[in-house]
């Protein structure tokens, strides 16, 4: 094999010696910053938490900045992928696996054992890592930190620091710079600062739920949970505004933007999950599996998650409408029927107007998932879900001894299985193993909805530049969504795939300028060709006609 595998502990290039002294110092500073967090985790009590927190985060950010400047600004502008398949960290080597394990453990502790991070329960003061973040939390929201505040802060720091790195890496590419700036902004403002500041408005007689405006249903699976809806309704005008905005986003704004620009407007420009994947996760994009089997699994998986998320949300809403309908202007059955009618019309419309674009398996899949969903709706309408009791120990090997009603059981299972395990533990913890978009590709129900629309009803496509492709494979290698871009490009065919998040990296790395992300008319967007441009015109006509 010619593939040189390097098992040194280097983060930079085949040999640790190749990183400069400046980079080593920067690395050391970053690690010291992380080490402060580790010390806090093990209950070292820092005298002045505000100072040490600032120091820690400052060192991490500063270290990353210095390191990246040295890595990219010392070289000419261009594609900087040298050695990604040599480095242990980015090619599933020892370092990659180690990081994967550390992240996975971190997520498990975060979701299921926050006390280990120092979360004070029953009104006790925080300790450990979480206490270290109290000063910042107090500064923003006036409250002490929770595990989610710690997580949110680290998440934002990661997007900012690695976003900066990414912008340097692609400093010749304005598309990459702008969209990275955009995810950095949306994360910092919408996901982090604004909700914390809004928490300040809460008082005894006025309270809004923690609300990240850009985090829509169904990615935000608890968007329409009763406690949230209640809080919004109780908060009167402001609350109603946010509640209605949430619905309008799902049914109007998102479809409109997806029609105009493809799902990239969200996945690569706004979304927080996407934001982390594109910045901190960028080094792992090549690890996504491009095989046909993975693609089949993906389609099966992601559509199932969507159905799961719909039936869960409908179960939750219809249950509280069932016993409390006056409060919500809607009865349970009216709600179930309108959902059923909506889905039926949607499917009928797609099957009729897009019949030429659907192959047999898509057709069968759509019908199957539709019948499944409707069956659930019918079931809901006949039973009072809150009266059906489920003993969780049967499903959790005895780990969970609680008894749930059907709706809250479904909701808890969704939150646990999809919300925590899939999007957190696997989605991010496994970056160094499965690539940076495993969740976006296999799990995100929001991506599924926008993806179906992108495939069927959007102006977005990746245009292939005539006959210029040399089948080198750089595009496929860089596609974090596991799309075999080359398979299309080498046939001269545009790429119109539901999973494409429009990150534009395939286009950036193509050495022959073959790929361009575009919004243009829907006609001729999907253009399978038999023979590529440049060939004899008669032959092209002859074959492309058939």
């Amino acid at each position: 094999m010619s593939n040189k595998i390097d098992h040194s502990m280097s983060l930079a290039s085949p040999d640790a010696l190749n990183i400069t002294t400046k980079q080593k110092i920067a690395l050391a500073f970053g690690l010291i910053g992380l080490f402060i967090l580790v010390l806090a985790l093990f209950n070292v009590d820092f005298p002045n938490r505000a100072v040490f927190l600032t120091l820690s985060l400052g060192l991490v950010i500063g270290g990353t900045i210095v390191y990246s400047r040295e890595a990219y600004l010392t070289k000419l502008e261009g594609i900087k992928n040298d050695g990604v398949w040599f480095k242990s960290l980015t090619s599933r080597g020892v370092l990659g696996w180690s990081l994967g394990i550390v992240l996975t453990v971190f997520y498990i502790v975060l979701y299921f054992f926050p006390a280990l991070l120092g979360l004070g329960t029953n009104g006790e003061a925080n300790t450990g890592l979480i206490a270290l973040f109290d000063p910042l939390s107090n500064l923003l929201s006036g409250n002490n930190a929770s595990q989610w505040f710690v997580y949110g802060t680290l998440y934002t720091v990661a997007i900012l620091a690695f976003g900066y790195k990414f912008m340097l890496k692609y400093r010749h590419n304005r598309y990459q710079q702008l969209r990275t700036g955009s995810v950095m902004f949306f994360q910092t403002a919408f996901a982090f600062v604004i909700p914390e500041l809004m928490a300040r408005l809460n008082s005894d007689d006025f309270s809004l739920p923690y609300n990240d405006l850009k985090n829509m249903w169904p990615l935000n699976y608890y968007a329409f949970d009763q406690w949230r809806v209640d809080q919004f309704i109780n908060a009167q005008t402001v609350g109603l505004f946010f509640l209605i905005l949430g619905v309008v986003m799902v049914f109007v704004i998102s479809p409109y933007l997806t029609y105009k620009y493809g799902k990239r407007w969200y996945c690569s420009w706004v979304c927080g999950c996407g934001g982390l994947a594109e910045t901190a996760g960028d080094s792992f994009r090549q690890l996504s599996n491009k095989g046909v089997k993975a693609w089949k699994f993906e389609r099966w998986m992601i559509n199932s998650v969507l159905v799961f998320s719909i039936v869960t949300t409908v179960a939750v809403i219809s249950t509280y409408l069932g016993y409390d309908s006056e409060k919500y202007w809607f009865t349970k059955n009216a709600f179930l029927i309108s959902i059923g009618v909506f889905l039926t019309l949607l499917l009928a419309g797609i099957l009729y107007y897009k019949r030429k674009e659907l192959n047999k398996s898509a057709f069968r899949g759509a019908i199957g998932y539709y019948i499944l969903t409707i069956a659930f709706l019918v079931f809901y309408s006949f039973f009072d879900l809150s009266q059906i009791k489920i003993d969780a120990s049967y499903f959790s090997f005895g780990l969970n001894q609680n008894t749930y009603s059907f709706d809250s059981g479904l909701r808890s299972f969704y939150g646990f299985g999809i919300g925590s395990i899939f999007s957190g533990v696997i989605g991010t913890g496994f970056y160094p193993i499965l690539g940076n978009r495993a969740w976006c590709r296999m799990g995100c129900p929001m991506a599924t909805i926008m993806g179906i629309q992108q495939r069927l009803f959007s102006k977005f496509r990746i245009t292939t530049n005539g006959g210029q492709c040399i089948s080198c494979g750089n595009c496929s290698n860089s596609c974090e969504m596991g799309i075999d871009v080359r398979a299309y490009a080498q046939k001269g065919e545009n790429i119109v795939r539901s999973s494409c998040v429009g990150c534009g990296v395939c286009s950036a790395v193509c050495p022959r300028g073959v790929l361009k992300l575009e919004n243009d008319s829907m006609d001729g967007r999907i253009n399978p060709t038999e023979v590529l441009l440049g060939n004899d015109v008669d032959l092209m006509d002859l074959l492309n006609k058939n």
Binding site: M1, S2, N3, K4, P14, D15, N18, L76, E77, G78, I79, N81, D82, G83, V84, W85, F86, K87, H172, N173, R174, Y175, L178, G291, V292, T463, N465, G466, G467, Q468, I470, S471, C472, G473, N474, S476, N477, R486, A487, Q490, G504, S507, A508, V509, P511, R512, G513, K516, L517, E518, V531, L532, L533, G534, N535, D536, V537, D538, L539, M540
Partner: protein
Amino acid sequence: MEHVVIIGNGISGVTVARHIRKNSDKKITIVSAETDYFFSRTALMYIYMGHMKFEHTQPYENSFWKKNRIELKKGFVETVETESKTLRFAGGDTLQYDKLVIATGSKPNKFGWPGQDLDGAQGLYSKQDLDSIERNAPDNKTCKRAVIVGGGLIGIELAEMLNSRSIPVTFLVREDSFWNGVLPKGESAMINRHIKNHHIDLRLSTNLKEIKSDENGKVKSIVITETGEEIECNVVGLTAGVAPNIDFIKTSNIETNRGVLVNRQLETNIPDVYAIGDCAEQRDGGIGQRRPIEAVWYTGRMMGEVLAQTICGNPLEYKPGHWFNSAKFLDIEYQTYGWVFADRGRPEYEEHFHWIHEDDTKCITVAYHKDTKQFLGINTFGIRMRHETFDRWLTEKRDVDYVIKNLPEANFDPEFYKHFEKDILASYNKQLQTV
């Protein structure tokens, strides 16, 4: 069932096989001595640079071949016996064919330099060449310096490869400016500067005299003809062009010159024997302004597409459309559509408009007919342009004014990139006024 045997699993051989399968049920066998499965030769550099692994350069999954009933045989064909329609392999076994396609590609040129076969002196063409460069130049401790001989597209790729591992490179180019047999002056000069910016020791107008050996038969140094200077090095890259890889055919009845001679239908002098891709040579000296041997990726593919029709009973001529090509010089992408000639070989009617950006990484050259003003072709560096648009303009025989004014339509750069069409137009108007 008719048995079509294809020698060579490169782009040409694989394309003809795929298209025969689409159109027929014939038995198809592809023979190659190089690798088990088709891979993209153009991506060899990215394996050494660590952008991809070897398996990523394979455009089809391994299961593809079985699914499409294309048999693969690994083996080196030593002789072709056209009377008995038999191939004889190096291992002694044989294979019968009904129709034979020769798609054996190229091999690196070696011009008889003393020491050219030493350990450490090599071309860059095959998977085996890649393995050997990985062995000879794994890092800058094993290989303290490399010398590249021959300033063409493969030479510059090899330079970029070695550069990625911080191996110092001396680049010997016979011409007085990089690739100026193909590129007009301004472009070639810009690439010279770009190469030097990458700290590559570019030596123009410089020839290799000999390669010297150490006591173990390994490369130790090279000597330059012009100055007699001796440069110590551990690897010598021989990238002075390629030639058809057809030595094994010379003993057969198949007519050859530099390549296997074929007519417009890609038939050789022997019935049922065809040749396509890098190894084929057009009998009547090239189609239009094309060279008789076209050693580029897409022409091999196009010949494969056409020949599949002929073999499946729909005889067609190879009639390529407008010329186009592309390459990348370190960080600068290059595309060309239509014909733009360098100083050498330029028809007397061909005039050029040249624009270069002040950052010295972007430029274009537009060629047009000096009397009719007809647009003949464009070279573009650092700005991506749309193949389809230029193909149409060439067919419509647009004039140069039209092309320059409508250049925005042809832009293919990613969204939000800075556009230069206004600059270009202004510069065009100015230049025309001064002449």
